[in-house]
């Protein structure tokens, strides 16, 4: 039987998709702990239903489950994203003014991202951080590629309008 009950099949699905599921939920709701839980629950569900899910359906199954889990719980909570420290190994030759300016810009970008509508933020970050193609994001969200392009377009527009000084 071609399903994900096979240990090897299951673990390879985990290593391929667990990080993306984590990010997906994190971008949506800005809650690291809940994103961890979502990964656990989505994969437990996948295991429980392993006989009914074929490997090629496993990916969209995971995202649907993860999304549904926190759809109602976290919608109301205020999103506060934080990102891993990007400046751990900075040996820059740039002027302090430039560094400061850049830092300020990043803060503004963060604020704007936090206030971005959830589906636009998720699309934008999956593309920018995870390098996901529009088609992939469309599959995760269960919408058309065109809809993802629209979200991307609107996200960029919104960010530009909400970052002061540009």
């Amino acid at each position: 039987m071609n399903n994900v009950c096979e240990e090897q099949q299951y673990s390879s699905i985990f290593s391929t998709h667990s990080k993306t599921v984590f990010n997906f939920i994190y971008y949506k709701f800005g809650n690291e702990e809940k994103a961890h839980d979502a990964v656990q629950e989505a994969f437990v569900k996948l295991w429980e239903n392993c006989s009914k899910v074929t490997p090629d359906k496993a990916k969209s199954y995971l995202f649907t489950v993860a999304n549904n889990l926190y759809l109602n719980v976290l919608k109301a909570e205020k999103v506060k994203l934080k990102y891993a420290d990007r400046h751990t190994h900075t040996t820059t030759y740039e002027s302090p003014e430039f560094v400061l300016e850049e830092k300020q810009f990043e803060d503004k970008l963060n604020n704007a991202l936090n206030s971005l509508p959830e589906n636009q933020r998720t699309t934008f970050l999956l593309n920018r951080i995870d390098g996901k193609k529009y088609a992939e994001i469309a599959e995760m969200e269960g919408v058309s590629v065109k809809a993802i392009e629209k979200r991307m377009h609107l996200a960029l527009k919104y960010l530009r309008e909400h970052i002061d000084g540009i």
């Binding site: 990010n23 961890h36 295991w47 990102y83 891993a84 990043e106 960029l156 530009r160 540009i166």
Partner: protein, 304 residues
């Protein structure tokens, strides 16, 4: 500019011409800045190995219960449910069935009904009734011969293949053998329905149907059928029925040779002493007999 050109731009899908136009626009610099800055963003650390270990713990318990505990238990429940249904089903089915009492050949059986009415079954007879519904309906089905002592109460009916007998409280005998149907009333009043005709039978009367011929006779008031005293009595009964009764009482096979079994017989034979009984039958009818181990042969006196 095409639809969603910002998304296309990030994906390098703009035509050269469009790109040139876009680069000239005032916003281009800001978008470039956003794209560059967002490129440097990183998601929080995700420890995949730790998550995998956690997950394994969770699915392991799941797996164990799935294979070892859940399934056999489910199967057990399934079997148990089926058995429970069968048991309750058969309990109700058997309960709804009538109780049946039977007497063997050369045997009498006495039984007391729930309302203390009594039934005595003569040899090779059978009654059945519903004990559950006895309070609502006093009804028994009879095959053979039986004496009834009915306690006073609601209508008491005896159904036989020949006719139906209804009483309120009385003592009577019903004999229903192949071709022979006799009801004798010893006390009270008995109502006999035969061929959908109702006949009232007061105490001291009997009603007999032999091969469809109805006749009326007498019965001893406050008496008992003779068979309760281990005797079989007959009044103008064809010999064939007398011999059939003899067979039942002694559990022996009767054979006849050159004998007119339609000959009427009036008399009594003992149900306990076979030699005496044989004499009681043979002497008045002038028939000879030979008693073997398992059968009796009756033959004409004149036959050599």
């Amino acid at each position: 500019m095409q639809e969603n050109y910002l998304a296309k731009w990030l994906n390098n899908e703009l035509t050269e011409e469009e790109l040139a136009t876009f680069k000239k626009s005032a916003e281009y610099a800001s978008y470039e800045k956003i794209a560059k800055a967002s490129n440097k963003l990183k998601a929080p650390e995700f420890d995949q190995n730790k998550a995998w270990e956690q997950l394994k713990d969770k699915t392991k318990t799941n797996r164990a219960s799935k294979v070892v505990v859940l399934n056999p238990f489910k199967n057990f429940l399934r079997v148990a449910a089926v058995i429970a249904i069968l048991l309750t089903g058969s309990y109700f089915f058997l309960n709804s069935l009538d109780q049946t009492y039977e007497s063997q050949l050369a045997q009498q059986t006495e039984l007391v009904l729930p309302d203390n009415s009594e039934i005595v079954l003569n040899a090779a007879s059978k009654v059945s009734f519903s004990e559950k519904k006895w309070d609502k309906k006093r009804a028994v089905a009879l095959d053979g011969e039986a004496f009834f002592k009915v306690a006073k109460g609601k209508k008491f009916t005896v159904t036989t293949s020949s006719g139906k007998i209804a009483v309120l409280g009385t003592q009577f005998n019903v004999k229903n053998r192949d071709g022979l149907f006799t009801v004798s009333c010893f006390e009270g009043l008995v109502s006999v329905t035969y061929n959908s005709k109702e006949i009232k039978l007061p105490a001291g009367n009997s009603f007999t149907v032999i091969n469809g011929n109805v006749s009326k006779g007498t019965a001893q008031r406050n008496g008992q059928p003779s068979w309760l005293n281990k005797e079989s009595s007959f009044t103008s009964t064809p010999l064939e029925y007398v011999l059939a009764e003899f067979e039942r009482q002694f559990n022996i096979k009767v054979e006849t040779q050159n004998i007119n079994t339609n000959k009427l017989f009036t008399g009594t034979f003992s149900n306990s002493d076979i030699n005496l009984a044989l004499k009681s039958i043979s002497t008045p009818t002038q028939i000879r007999f030979k008693l073997g181990k398992e059968k009796v042969l009756f033959y004409d006196e004149n036959t050599p």
